[in-house]
Symmetry: C2
Subunit: 217 residues, 2 copies
DNA sequence: TACTTAAATGAGTGATTACTCACTTTACAA
DNA sequence: TTGTAAAGTGAGTAATCACTCATTTAAGTA
C-alpha cells in the first residue's frame, strides 16, 4: 500500500473504539481511495475488500453497512472543518495574536489549506458526496456551515469595530471571503488538480485580493 | 410531468437528429431529474424509464448506453459555458459595448447566472459528475477551461491597456475573478440551495468586491 | 385496406451488488 | 494444553443492474 497512513491515524481513531485493527485500517484506506476516485455509489464492497486484502465479510464485521463506512470516514474530517474557529475566549485570542484581519486571514487560509492537503482524499469524498446524502448535508449545514458563519461573523465584527474592514453586514464579508477561498480550493483540488498551481503565489494573491475587496475605504 | 420543458427544447435539440420525439424528451427529462438528484451511478435505467413512463428498452432505442444518455444531456450545456466569450471581433465588441471592466463583468455574471438558472439541473449533473468521468473532465479542460481562460485573459488585457485594472498577469486576474464567482455559484446552487439567498444583492456585492480587488491603484 | 417499416414493449439474460452466516482461524486466559 | 471468545473467511442469497431481443403496436404509404 502506497497510502499515507497518517491519514487514517490522525483523525479516524478518535472514536469510542480507539485504535483500529490493522485490517480495519486497510479497509478504511481502501475505501478512502475508492470513494474519492469513483464515488460512493460506484464503489463496491467487493472491490474495497480486494483492495484492502481482506474478505468482503470483514468489512461488515466492522461496519454494519457500506454507508456507515462512508460516514465513519467523512464525519471526523467534516467536524474538523470548523476547528480553527472553536477557541475559548476568541476575543482574547484575536487581541493577542492578530492585529489585522489580514493576519488572521492568512493564518486561517494556510491552516485550512494544510488541513485539506493532509486529508485531501477525504475532503474530496465529502465534497463529492454531500449533494447525494441527506444526512451528510444535514450535518454539514447544522454543524459546519452555520457554526462557521456565526463564528466568522464575530471575527469580522471584531475587526470592523477597529475600523479595519468596510462597514457592511458581517455575514456579507464572511460570504465574500469564503467564496473566494472556496472557489480557489475547489478549482485547485477538485476540478483542475492536474493543472500546475503555484500554491504559494495563489494564496498570497487571493489574500491580497480579498483584503482589497473588504478593507475599510 | 411538472418539468419545465424549455430545458429540453432549448439546448438538446441542436444535434444532428433535430427534433426529439415525445418519448425521447420524457426520457431526457427523467434522466436529468434522476442524475441531478441521485448522481449517475445511483440512477438506474429501470427507474428512469418508470419516471419517463416508457419501457426500459425504449431508452436503448435512443441511446446505446446509459453513459451515452448522460453525455447527450451534459455536452451541449458544457459547450455553452463559454458561449458569451465566443464572439467574432471581440475587440470591437468590447470597445463598443463595454467602457469599463465592471460593465463587462456585470453583464457576464448576469448572463451566466441566467444560464445556470435556466439549466440548473444539467449544470448540477455536470459539476457532480466531472470528477468521475475521464471523458467529461477531458472535454471540460480542453474545450471549456482552457478556452475560457485564454479568451477571458484577452479581455482583461484589453482593460489593463486602458489602465483600468491592476498590473498583474491577466491569467491571475482571471483566476481571482472566476474563483469568486464560482465560489458564490457553487454555494448558492450546489452546496446550500435551501438557504435564503438574496440573489440580486449577492451579485451586486460580488461584483463590487471583485472590482475592489482588481481595479487599478 | 394491406403491407412495410419504425417505434415501443417487457420478459429475459448474465453480471454485479450489499449483505448474511456457517465455518475456520486466531488470540487470549486459565 | 485446553477452552472460549473474537476475528476473519468466502460461499451463498435475494435483489438489482444495464442491456438484448422476440414480439407487439403504431405510423406511413400505395
Amino acid at each position: 500500500m502506497k497510502m499515507n497512513n497518517s491519514k487514517v491515524d490522525s483523525l479516524l481513531t478518535g472514536g469510542e473504539s480507539g485504535e483500529l485493527t490493522d485490517k480495519q485500517k486497510r479497509i478504511v484506506e481502501a475505501a478512502i481511495e475508492m470513494f474519492s476516485e469513483k464515488g460512493f455509489a460506484a464503489s463496491s464492497t467487493s472491490e474495497i475488500a480486494k483492495r484492502a486484502g481482506v474478505a468482503e465479510g470483514t468489512i461488515f464485521r466492522h461496519y454494519k453497512t457500506k454507508k456507515e463506512l462512508l460516514l465513519a470516514i467523512v464525519t471526523p474530517v467534516m467536524g474538523n472543518l470548523v476547528a480553527p474557529f472553536i477557541v475559548k475566549d476568541l476575543e482574547k485570542v484575536l487581541e493577542k495574536d492578530y492585529e489585522f484581519y489580514e493576519e488572521f486571514l492568512e493564518a486561517m487560509v494556510r491552516n485550512r489549506q494544510a488541513f485539506i492537503q493532509k486529508h485531501l482524499s477525504i475532503v474530496r469524498i465529502l465534497v463529492q458526496e454531500i449533494p447525494f446524502h441527506e444526512e451528510l448535508r444535514g450535518q454539514f449545514i447544522e454543524h459546519v456551515a452555520k457554526d462557521l458563519y456565526a463564528r466568522f461573523a464575530n471575527i469580522v465584527s471584531h475587526f470592523q469595530e477597529k475600523d479595519e474592514l468596510v462597514q457592511m453586514p458581517p455575514s456579507s464579508v464572511v460570504r465574500l471571503t469564503i467564496s473566494s477561498i472556496l472557489g480557489f480550493f475547489l478549482a485547485r483540488y477538485i476540478f483542475l488538480p492536474e493543472h500546475e498551481w503555484n500554491e504559494e503565489e495563489e494564496i498570497e494573491m487571493t489574500i491580497q485580493f480579498i483584503m482589497n475587496g473588504v478593507k475599510a475605504r
